[in-house]
Symmetry: C2
Subunit: 632 residues, 2 copies
C-alpha cells in the first residue's frame, strides 16, 4: 500500500475522514449496488453488469450513471492510501472484473451506449457524457494504481481512451470535437502524469484548445439540436461559445466550467503558456470577485445549473451545486500548483469548509445537491422556482453526482494540504490541517493544533538537519497572523500571501502560527443586491448561519448588532460547541396591529441569537436557515 505524503490527524477532519473510509465509502458501495432499500435506486453497477452480459435487464438511471462507479472507485482508492482495507480492495477488484467484461473489443467502455443505445456512440456529444464517464474511470484507474500498484483497471482505461483517440483529434479524418461535459481533460493529465505517456498530454491539449472554435460542431450535434433555442442550454452552457483562449467570463453550467478550468490549469502548469495563464487569471477573477457565494458555492441559476449575471447571487434560490464547489476546489488546487498565491488557497479553503462540506451530513448518509444561503421552508416547499431547494437532507439522488464526488474529495484531502518541491527543498503549506507531513525518507513535519477551534497550529520538524524553505499560507481572513520560531516571535517575509521561512531546520524546531480567529461580520459588495443591508458571520474560514432550531422562525425579522459570549446568551450548557453568539433584536411579527403594511415600524425585542457553522445546517429537522443576516 502506498501512503500519502500527508497523514491527517486533525480535530476537525480526522473524524470526518475516518467516517468516510470506515462507513461512508462502504455505504456508497451498497447504494451503487442497489442494496439500500427506500432510496432512489442507483443501478450503476447493475448497468455495467448488464453491459458485461452478467445480468439481464435494461439500463436504468442517468445516462452518465457510469461515472458514479468511477468516482466511487477513485474515492475507495484514496481510502486505501489512508488505511488498509482488504474487503474494500476486493470490492474494487470485483468491479474491475465487471468493467473488463463490459469493455468492447475496440476498447469502448460505456454501459449506457453499449446496452441502451447500441450503434449510437459519439452521436450526442453535447449531453451524452461518454468522455465524461471515461474520464472518471481514468481518474479511478490512476488513483487505484497509485494506491495499490495494480494496473488492470489502468489497462482497461487506456484501451478505452485509445478508442476515443482513434476517433477524435486534429487529423483530417478524425472528428474535431471535444466533450460536452469537461472531465476527460483533467483525467488525461493524471493519466499522463502517472504513465508519462505524451499522447495523453497531447490529446488533453487538443480537447482543451479545440473547445469553442466557431462555427461550433455542437450546432450540428444531434444531441444538442432541440434545446439550442433555449439560451440556457446553448453554446455557453458547454463553454463552447468562444474559443477557449478568448473566454474571459465564466458562463454556463458551473460544474462543466470548473472541470474545464481545472483541466486548463493542468495544461498551464505543464506548458507555462502565458496566454492560458492569463485566461485562467481572468476567469478566476470573474468567478471569485463577481459570481461566487460567500460559501464558495457557484452557479446561481437552477436552470442550466449555471452561472448568472455578475453579482446575481440570490440567497434563496441559488443553485450552488455541491459538485460545483468541489470543482472549484479542484480548480483552486491546480491554480496553487501554478503559483502559491493565497487568493487561490483562501478560496480552496472557503469552498472546502462551506460550499462543499455543506453537501453532506456529518454521518455522510444524507446529502444536499443544492446549497442555498437562505431557506424558508414554507416558501421552498411551495414555490415552483424553489423546487430544486431541499429543506431537508435526502439519502440519495436520482442524479447522484454529488455524494461520490464528496467522498473522493474528503478521501483525497491529504493531497490538498501542501506541495513539496523535492529539488528546491521547498514545502508550501496551503491548508492548516494537522498530521504528519513526510517530505523525504526520514524527514517530516508534525503538525498539530486546533486551527478551526482555537486558531493555532504548530509545526515541529523531525529528522536530519536540512536547509529548507517553508511557505505558509497567510489566510486572508486572519487580519494578523503571528509566527513564532522556537518560541520567538518573528516577522517572516511574505510573497503572494505566503510567509517564507528559509533556514536550516533541525530536529525539534518548532514553528507556531497563531491566527486571528475572532468572528467577524463580512459585508458584500453593494452590487450584490441580495445581500444589501446584511452581513454574514465568519470565524476563520467557516461561514455561519442562523437556524430556526436555535432562534425560532422568521429569521429575516432578526437584526444582529455585535458578538457576545455564550455566557451572555445564558448558554453554559455547551450544547453548541462551535456556535457564535450575537446580540441584536427581533422585529415582532403582528406588532403592527396584525397588518401586512403599516406606517409603524414593527416593535423590537432585544435578544441573543446563536449562529452555527453553515456546513452543519439542516441536521436538526426542517426549519429556516439564513446566512446573510440583517445587520444594524
Amino acid at each position: 500500500m502506498k501512503v500519502n505524503r500527508v497523514q491527517i490527524d486533525d480535530s476537525f477532519w480526522g473524524g470526518r475522514i475516518r467516517r468516510m473510509c470506515e462507513s461512508i465509502i462502504p455505504y456508497q458501495y451498497e447504494v451503487l449496488n442497489d442494496q439500500v432499500p427506500g432510496i432512489p435506486q442507483s443501478h450503476a453497477v447493475e448497468n455495467f453488469r448488464i453491459a458485461a452480459g452478467l445480468s439481464e435487464g435494461e439500463y436504468q438511471g442517468m445516462l452518465f450513471q457510469d461515472s458514479d462507479v468511477g468516482k466511487w472507485i477513485e474515492a475507495a482508492s484514496y481510502s486505501l492510501r489512508i488505511r488498509e482495507d482488504r474487503e474494500l480492495e476486493e470490492k474494487i477488484d470485483g468491479l474491475v472484473q465487471i468493467l473488463k467484461k463490459a469493455q468492447k473489443e475496440d476498447g469502448y467502455l460505456n454501459s449506457y451506449y453499449t446496452s441502451a443505445r447500441p450503434g449510437e456512440r459519439l452521436t450526442n456529444i453535447a449531453h451524452g457524457h461518454e468522455m465524461y464517464c471515461a474520464g472518471h474511470l481514468a481518474e479511478a484507474a490512476v488513483a487505484y494504481a497509485q494506491a495499490t500498484g495494480k494496473t488492470e483497471l489502468l489497462d482497461i482505461v487506456e484501451d478505452c481512451i485509445s478508442y476515443f483517440m482513434s476517433k477524435i483529434g486534429p487529423e483530417p479524418e478524425k472528428l474535431h470535437i471535444y466533450p460536452g461535459h469537461p472531465e476527460l481533460e483533467l483525467a488525461l493529465y493524471k493519466l499522463y502524469q502517472y504513465t508519462k505517456k505524451e499522447k495523453y498530454l497531447k490529446f488533453m491539449e487538443y480537447l482543451l484548445l479545440e473547445r469553442g472554435k466557431q462555427p461550433s460542431f455542437l450546432l450540428e450535434d444531434p444531441g444538442f439540436g432541440e434545446q439550442y433555442h433555449d439560451k440556457w442550454f446553448g453554446l455557453e452552457y458547454h463553454q463552447a461559445h468562444l474559443p477557449i483562449l478568448e473566454q474571459r467570463e465564466a458562463k454556463g453550467h458551473a460544474v462543466r466550467a470548473m472541470y474545464l478550468y481545472a483541466g486548463l490549469a493542468d495544461l498551464a502548469y505543464e506548458t507555462k503558456d502565458p496566454a492560458i495563464i492569463s485566461v485562467l487569471e481572468d476567469l478566476w477573477k470573474d468567478v471569485t470577485e463577481r459570481k461566487m457565494y460567500i460559501t464558495g458555492a457557484v452557479g446561481s441559476d437552477e436552470h442550466g445549473e449555471g452561472f448568472g449575471a455578475p453579482y446575481d447571487l440570490p440567497n434563496d434560490r441559488g443553485y450552488g451545486e455541491t459538485c460545483a464547489s468541489i470543482g472549484l476546489i479542484f480548480w483552486a488546487r491546480r491554480m496553487l500548483r501554478l503559483k502559491a498565491d493565497s487568493r487561490y488557497g483562501d478560496v480552496m479553503e472557503l469552498a472546502l469548509y462551506n460550499g462543499a462540506l455543506s453537501g453532506m451530513a456529518p454521518d455522510g448518509k444524507t446529502y444536499f445537491y443544492v446549497n442555498p444561503l437562505m431557506v424558508i421552508p414554507s416558501q421552498a416547499d411551495s414555490r415552483y422556482d424553489l423546487r430544486h431547494v431541499k429543506t431537508e437532507r435526502v439519502p440519495w439522488f436520482g442524479c447522484a453526482c454529488c455524494p461520490p464526488n464528496a467522498a473522493r474529495l474528503i478521501a483525497s484531502l491529504p493531497d490538498y494540504v501542501c506541495d513539496y518541491d523535492c529539488g528546491e527543498k521547498e514545502l508550501t503549506v496551503h491548508l492548516y490541517i494537522c498530521g504528519k507531513i513526510t517530505l523525504d525518507k526520514n524527514i517530516w513535519f508534525e503538525a498539530s493544533g486546533d486551527y478551526i477551534g482555537s486558531g493555532k497550529a504548530e509545526y515541529i520538524y523531525r529528522g536530519e538537519s536540512v536547509e529548507m524553505t517553508l511557505r505558509m499560507r497567510l489566510p486572508g481572513w486572519s487580519g494578523k497572523t503571528g509566527m513564532k520560531l522556537n518560541g520567538s516571535l518573528f516577522r517572516p517575509d511574505t510573497e503572494n500571501g505566503y510567509a517564507i521561512i528559509s533556514r536550516k531546520w533541525s530536529d525539534g524546531d518548532k514553528l507556531e502560527v497563531v491566527f486571528d480567529l475572532r468572528p467577524r461580520f463580512i459585508y458584500s459588495n453593494p452590487r450584490a443586491a441580495a445581500n444589501a443591508g446584511r452581513a454574514a458571520v465568519k470565524k476563520g474560514p467557516v461561514v455561519y448561519c442562523l437556524e430556526e432550531a436555535d432562534n425560532g422562525g422568521d429569521l429575516n425579522a432578526v437584526v444582529v448588532e455585535d458578538f457576545c459570549s455564550a455566557g451572555d446568551a445564558g448558554r453554559q450548557d455547551g450544547q453548541q460547541e462551535q456556535a457564535v453568539y450575537l446580540r441584536g433584536y427581533r422585529e415582532k411579527a403582528g406588532s403592527q396591529e396584525g397588518k401586512l403594511y403599516s406606517d409603524q415600524n414593527p416593535e423590537k425585542v432585544e435578544g441573543v441569537f446563536c449562529a452555527v457553522p453553515y456546513h452543519m445546517w439542516g441536521n436538526r429537522g426542517k426549519g429556516e436557515m439564513l446566512v446573510w443576516m440583517r445587520k444594524k
Copy 2:
C-alpha cells in the same frame, strides 16, 4: 345614449379616461383586427370571422382569444356612456353581426371550439375557457345594452347561455360541473340584474356552490388529466380543492380566484347569506393581510400564475398579473356593495392607483403583464426564473388578457366612485374622483379638487333641498382627515371607516375634505422576508419607487433616511412633478478594494434620491426599479 351617474372630470383620471376613449380603445380595435404591424397578431376578430364562414383560414391564438373581443366590446360600451362616438358604435355593431353569424343554431358561440375543435365542446372544462369566453360576451352585451339600449348582442348571449344551461345544472341528466376559469358567474349576475330573469341568478348560484365538491369532476376531465401531477396545476389552481363554502384561504391561479370571489360577493349581495359572507371575509383577510403586495398586486408565483404561501411576496419575481389586480378591484367593489367598509375601499383604491395602473403606459399603447416590485435588468434578462419579468413595456401580448381588461376598467371607472341608495337617500363615496355625481333628476354633487396632488376634495350640492346622508370614505392612509361643512370644521360620526353626514342639503352646500397627503414610509409585517429592513414610500394611495433614470443603477445600494424637498435635491426644474425626494446615502460599489466580500463596510456617499409613482415606472427606457427601499 345612457350616461353614467358619475361624469368624471378629474385632474388625475380625466386625461386617462379621455385617452382611453379617444385613442386606446380604437387602437385596441385595430390590434384585435390585426391592423397594427410589428406586434403579436391577435387574430381574435378573424377567429370569429372564420367561425362565421366569412373568412377562410385557421383559428390562431390562445384558446380563449374570444374573450378579448368580449372585453373590448365591454370597454367600448363604457366609452359610449362617457361620450358619443358613432364610429365606435358602428364598429361594435359590425362585430355583433360577425358574432351572430358565428353562433350555432343551438346557441353555442365559441370560435375556438367551432372551427379548431369541432365536436369537442365541454370536453376540457379545466382549461377550455368556453364559459369564460361566454361570460365576457355576456358582460359586453349588458354593457352595450346599458349604453345604447341595443339588445341584439344580448339576444345572442342569452341564446349562448341557454345552451350552457341546457347542458349544466343540478338536474340528474345534466353535467354537474362549473367553469375551470370563473367569470361566467359574475357575468350571469349582471345579466340577471339587467334582464331581471331569475334563471340567470339560479344558474350563477349553481355554478358557485357546485364548485369544489369532492370528488371533483375535474379529476375525470380530459383537459385536466395530464397536468394533475404538477401540484401547481392541481385542484387548487382552479379553486376546486374544497367546497367553496369551506375555502378560507386564497389558493391557486390569482385571476381565477379574484373573479370567483367577485362572483361570490355578488351572490352574497343578493342572498345576504351569512355563510357566504363569512367565507368572503376570511378570504379577504387572507389575501389582503397575508398575500397582497403593497401595490395591490396578487399572485406571487409565476408558475400557475398563483398565490404563494402566506407572506411569500418576493419583489423581483412575483407575478402580480395586471388582470389579477383588476380582479381584486372587481372583488373589492362588490365587497363595498355588501358593506361600506374602508378596508375594501382602501384596497380597491390601492390596486387601482398601483397594481392595475402600472400595467399600462400613460399613452395606453404599451403594457406590462407582470408587475414586480424590483427589477434589475441584468438579472431579469438572464435568469430563467425571471423570464416572465419584462424590463420594458411591450406593445401587445400573445396572451392579451390584460390590455382590454385595463381598458374596460378605466372606461368603467365612473361605476367605482360611489353608490347611491335612492330609497334611503344615501350617497356613499368610495373614491375621491372629481366630476359630477348625479343622484336623481335635478339633484347632484359637483366634486372638485386635486386629491392625488394636493389632498383636497370639495363636494358642492346642487338642486332642491333634500334630507340625505353622505357617507365619505376615510382613507386608511390619511392619519387625520379634516372635514368642513360650509367653511366650518366639524367631526362627523364614523362607521367602518366612513364619515357619516346626515343633514338637509341645500343648493350650494359645500363639503370640504382635507387629507393628510404627506409622503410616508410604510413598513412590512416582519414575516414578509423579502421586505425585511426596508420601507416603501407612499403618498396618499400612490406607491412610489426608485428608478435608475433618476438615481443611477444599483438601487439596492441606496439607503433612504427621510424625506426632503425638491429644492434640497437641487431640482427646481419641475421635471418630476409627482416626484418625492429622499435624503440618504449610497454605498459605493468597489469601495472594498473591489472585493466581493470584505470585513469592511462599503463606503457611504450622502445623496438625495428621487422616487416616482410606481404606476409610472418603465416609461423611460430600460433600467432598475425598486419599491422596497433600504431604510436607515
